[in-house]
Symmetry: C2
Subunit: 210 residues, 2 copies
Amino acid sequence: MREKLGKMPLPIVERLSVYLLTLLDIKSEGRVSVSSLELAERNGFSSAQVRKDLSCFGTFGKKGTGYDIDLLIEKIRGILGLKRTWRLALIGLGNLGKALITHKGFTTRAFEFVAIFEKKPSLVGKQYKGIQIYNIENLDKIAKAKRIEIVVLTIPKEEVAGVYEKVIVAGIPAALNFTPVRLLSKGNTLVKNVNFFQNLETLTFYLSNF
Amino acid sequence: MREKLGKMPLPIVERLSVYLLTLLDIKSEGRVSVSSLELAERNGFSSAQVRKDLSCFGTFGKKGTGYDIDLLIEKIRGILGLKRTWRLALIGLGNLGKALITHKGFTTRAFEFVAIFEKKPSLVGKQYKGIQIYNIENLDKIAKAKRIEIVVLTIPKEEVAGVYEKVIVAGIPAALNFTPVRLLSKGNTLVKNVNFFQNLETLTFYLSNF
DNA sequence: AAGAGAATGTGAATGTTTTCACTAAAATAG
DNA sequence: CTATTTTAGTGAAAACATTCACATTCTCTT
Ligand SMILES: NC(=O)c1ccc[n+]([C@@H]2O[C@H](COP(=O)([O-])OP(=O)(O)OC[C@H]3O[C@@H](n4cnc5c(N)ncnc54)[C@H](O)[C@@H]3O)[C@@H](O)[C@H]2O)c1
Ligand SMILES: NC(=O)c1ccc[n+]([C@@H]2O[C@H](COP(=O)([O-])OP(=O)(O)OC[C@H]3O[C@@H](n4cnc5c(N)ncnc54)[C@H](O)[C@@H]3O)[C@@H](O)[C@H]2O)c1
């Protein structure tokens, strides 16, 4: 059992998220308990890794039986901070932004879009899927008023630098960045970059070299 | 300089993709050479890491000067298999699928969508953005005829297991999976999973534990 | 042309993550 | 009730990844 959660290795946190999805899946099949081996095999990990990962946060299992699914789901939700709803804002209501806003998955989990920011004057002041669209220039003010915790960036790459500066100034705690410009965490803002090309390029690398 | 490219560590391949974007960026500023330090600082890595990564594939730099940008771009493109166009197919023309197909970035790089597969009878036989829509039941036949190399999965999660089975049977070399169902590489098919929740959940973990 | 400075490439050291291999507890079968 | 099987938890070992630190080479200035 580790002490400092703040410096938990990223691979462990990522796997926790995978375990959670798997547990929800198994639960939906009506099962009530699961072994580290099954959790591992479904995801291509080793059973020792599953046990070691979970042991960082406490002892949740029962020797001879495995893990109680409901209990483990609640524990992981607690660890990942998913016992409450997080307030998101979308920045850039283009093709990708609309797909994300429309996606039901977010809402049915722990995430809720509470604002959209756009540059196009024709969109500002309107709503999209019931969510108010604001002028990006008012990010600071609205972010505070709406208690925005995570911004989702789906703007053209030329706009990223300027908008990110505004995000930092507004002191928004986190950003999920879908643009191909790699951002580094700065100020009080934690960034996670999602790069589609990188994903495709790891595939083409291995396809080319086997 | 490493020998077996096929077992190059994933972190190195992912950084290569980051270096490439950075180099293109720097090139567009009119520059002709760059140091490992600059390549590192722009991306939050160490300069030693940049040099060590590149040294796995050859010696591309010049002591005292750094790396020639055009040369390094070409080398990395070669390593990542980006000197030719890869033939993609989209499976599932929904919200996310449409955003991806519409996205210019793919076409202007080394990727080209050559087919769309759908289940909805109303879409089959039509085109979207000039790309023919086929019945998913014909995946095997069309994949061979169109020489599809990578499928992009944007279908509901309930459909994933069945469709993935078809992808494996068709022997398609790779799949980029945007659904929340984690797939494991199997048969001759290499899989890369892209999980938006995982990205959000790593953010909420660290936000919750600082 | 010599010296100072810049920057690579890399073996060795360090740090991190994963796997191994075992102990111990619970469940099950005989 | 005892033996066998199942499975969690965990130090220790191994594998893997990053950083250090320096010899070497190239550039630039004077
Ligand atoms: N569409 C995809 O499938 C896809 C895939 C990978 C990456 N991306 C990246 O996501 C980003 C958006 O892609 P897209 O296809 O949705 O583009 P898009 O052009 O359809 O949408 C961008 C939107 O951002 C708005 N915008 C521009 N500047 C802004 C600003 N300063 N503040 C607020 N809003 C602003 C635009 O008005 C537009 O509505 C791009 O960086 C792209 O590279 C998209
Ligand atoms: N929209 C998003 O922003 C987003 C974000 C993250 C993940 N995802 C995931 O991506 C997937 C698609 O999301 P979406 O929002 O585009 O959903 P969607 O419902 O808009 O689109 C799904 C499309 O797939 C088609 N389809 C269904 N079964 C099929 C089959 N067997 N073969 C071929 N086509 C089939 C449907 O007809 C539909 O057109 C989902 O798994 C979702 O969880 C979406």
